[in-house]
Symmetry: C2
């Protein structure tokens, strides 16, 4: 079946992965994985195998293998684990570019026909799939999403690691709330109350003043009772913080960071994005030459007023309010690239944001809205660096001063202008993969109604 | 002061970091940072600046700068934030190899002499330092440890990222305990009990069967009431899990992984290790040619029996018991490299460990002991792949079967031999940096008595 001279089958075939088959073209390999699907057509079997790196179709003509091998392959059930030996053959019709002329299959574990793999190739409801999440992510689309997620996380860290940032891990268990306690998970810490972190920002402000440029990367938590397609109770955040950086530098950083992430995904996951069904042109537009558009809150408000006047928005945007989901969708739909909205009214923003010296009613902050209506993926700001102002802000927001004494110390001892942002990984994955719901962006989603498996 | 022709001082000097001064030798630069210390000797000032990437000594002859600049520099207090302009001069006596001929200093924030930086260059007690952890890590030794920690974390991920592993994040909020509930932090999850994870292993066994080779990297928690130099309540774990890998493969992986980490630290942090006071020869021995020694539990027991007979151990090791801290210290002191002790008695080990087919009273597990008495840094095993055996083990250990149904599914559908391990980051940092206590290995340590700052 191959044009090269056949090697004696007694030679052991080297173990390969499906993703690396191009390097083994025309040669015998051993694959270790699972049966994804099998079709038969009279004297031909077409088993499709998966091994976590991809899928490949095998071909087994009855005449080409001993009868017991043919029968063994024919007996395979979905998700049975196998060790497959065969010869790699280029085939331009195959999605991966290769097919496997199967010579032998060793069954590691046969899934019994009486208790088959619960996720068949038919449609299943979302509740059923989430209840079987530990099996669901074996399917091609879910596997592809998890591979892209891993690359997004790697690329995000890589950007900081290669630009002089030091990773510093803030605590998960914290004694006080960063932005109020209503959406915090509380627990008993040897007799004292403790809360799961919502953001590492305050802590990495401290490490930024020690190390200059830092980032944190870990899980964060919100005990949010809302059931939306954009909220998880447990999600991953990556947050840089930079001493001596202002809001303009923060926006430049966010832009370069997002371009690196999208470029890295495009360079490594075109096949996965195809499996997911992503329109790759939308991602290519993000990294095309040209800066990300930037607009002040006031400019965004004016855009929304015009849109409402022209009947393109159902409700008017009220000046001073945050941007609603339809507002964000409208604004992001006007551009091919992420849009940066900066300088929101200070009154609605967090206590730690520096006022704009040109107009102290505005905060030096930025939200980055992903294209295609995916909404905010990054929120950042320049932080208050004056001790007196920060102390007044903490009191205004009725936060417990004692819990923030250490944070005030950062303004007592060598305060500097500093800025940072946070990006939620799951929202970034939803956008880059083009997903409707964040529950598919993480191996084991935690939502209001789900903490299993 | 420099041999090259002086540039006109009106030219803006480029912003540089102290770590990058070699690239600016003989030229003017702007540094942004903090005053670490200042000495004066009559008409000479010697301010030492830090910027998070390192420290550099400046020299200010009174005659070389305008009087107001001299007075301004003289007024600087410890940790005042500054923007410094000066010319970089190579000086072989300087720890960094360079000194700075200071031309000007702009004060960003002057720490008042009446309320000075609390951590002086004198000795402080540990409680005081931990209470001021947000400031303590500005000091050279603590900064250096955090930089090395960041590189250990990066190198650990890099090893897996470049060897075909997919990062998959297990949940932090879990409905059940991996190894019993006595040391779990519990919280209320919208009316149901939930626990903070102690290990992602069970979850990444599921992703390994989907993606082949995976790893997790996140915080883990133990509500341990013990106060020791080796325990934190919140610590970071990196855990690989590989389908179709046996214990021998697991040990090979752990060895290659540790060599990559130590090599990367040595390649990037010799100056930091010097600041920390680490004996670098001990680390060089780890990566020198030659395999890590491996011994079975039985062989280790025999070593300990001999050592006790020769008076080298105070207490005998009881066969069947785990290795105690003096046992681990004795064994690791016999070798320059980490030692792998494998095949412990199954009775004392976790329910999910595969029995050794050659002797089912032994588990196919391994502990990697760091040299110099640092004890266990890695624990790993081959996992039970038989449904019947795993189910029996769960019942034997009085674990709630319902909570493990999803985990049993991994043996119902295409079970395969698989193995993995976990490395605690803080113990690895303690070993590689040569620290007495894990509290210095993480930015904000959480211990029995500490959750602030």
């Amino acid at each position: 079946m191959s044009e090269s001279a056949p090697e004696p089958v007694t030679h052991p075939a080297p173990v390969a992965t499906i993703a690396s088959l191009a390097a083994h073209q025309g040669r015998r390999v051993t694959l270790r994985g699972w049966l994804y699907n099998i079709r038969s057509s009279g004297k031909l079997l077409f088993p499709t195998f998966r091994d976590g790196t991809g899928t490949i179709q095998g071909i087994v003509p009855k005449a080409a293998v001993p009868p017991e091998v043919f029968d063994r392959i024919k007996s395979l059930t979905q998700e049975s684990s196998v060790i497959v030996t065969g010869r790699v053959r280029a085939d331009s019709r195959a999605p991966s570019g290769f097919e496997l002329d199967v010579e032998d299959v060793e069954i590691v574990h046969l899934v019994p026909t009486g208790a088959p793999f619960p996720i068949t190739l038919k449609e299943h409801g979302v509740d059923f799939l989430m209840e079987h999440r530990h099996l669901w992510f074996r399917t091609p689309r879910q596997s592809a999403i998890l591979r892209v997620r891993a690359t997004i996380m790697r690329a995000a860290q890589e950007y900081f690691d290669t630009h002089g940032f030091v990773r510093t891990d803030p605590p998960i268990l914290t004694p006080a709330a960063c932005e109020g306690t209503s959406t915090l998970f509380e627990l008993d810490y040897f007799g004292d109350p403790a809360f799961l972190t919502q953001s590492g920002q305050l802590y990495i402000e401290a490490t930024a003043l020690a190390l200059g440029k830092v980032y944190s990367f870990g899980p964060t938590f919100r005990a949010e009772k809302s059931k939306t397609r954009r909220h998880l109770t447990e999600f991953w955040m990556i947050e840089p913080e930079v001493a001596f950086m202002d809001l303009e530098g923060d926006m430049d950083l966010a832009e370069a960071f997002l371009i690196h992430i999208v470029s890295t995904v495009l360079a490594n996951h075109r096949a996965d994005l195809k499996v997911i069904g992503r329109d790759i042109a939308k991602l290519e537009a993000v990294i095309a030459p040209g800066r990300f558009p930037r607009a002040t809150y006031d400019e965004a408000h004016a855009m929304l007023e015009r849109a409402f006047a022209e009947g393109k928005l159902e409700a008017p945007h009220i000046y001073g309010d945050d941007l609603g989901s339809p507002d964000e969708t409208y604004i992001s739909s006007q551009f091919d690239k992420p849009v940066m909205i900066h300088r929101y009214p200070a009154a609605s923003k967090a206590f730690y944001m520096q006022p704009d010296p040109a107009d102290p009613t505005k905060a030096l902050c930025v939200d980055v809205l992903a294209p295609e209506g995916y909404g905010e993926i990054i929120g950042g700001s320049q932080r208050v660096d004056s001790y007196d102002l920060l102390r007044a802000r903490i009191l205004e927001h009725n936060l417990p001063l004692a819990a923030f004494e250490w944070y005030l110390d950062l303004r007592r001892y060598g305060s500097v202008p500093h800025s940072g942002f946070g990006m939620g990984i799951e929202r970034a994955v939803a956008w880059i993969c083009g997903l409707d719901h964040v529950r598919e962006t993480i191996p084991f989603a935690r939502t209001l109604n789900r903490i299993y498996p």
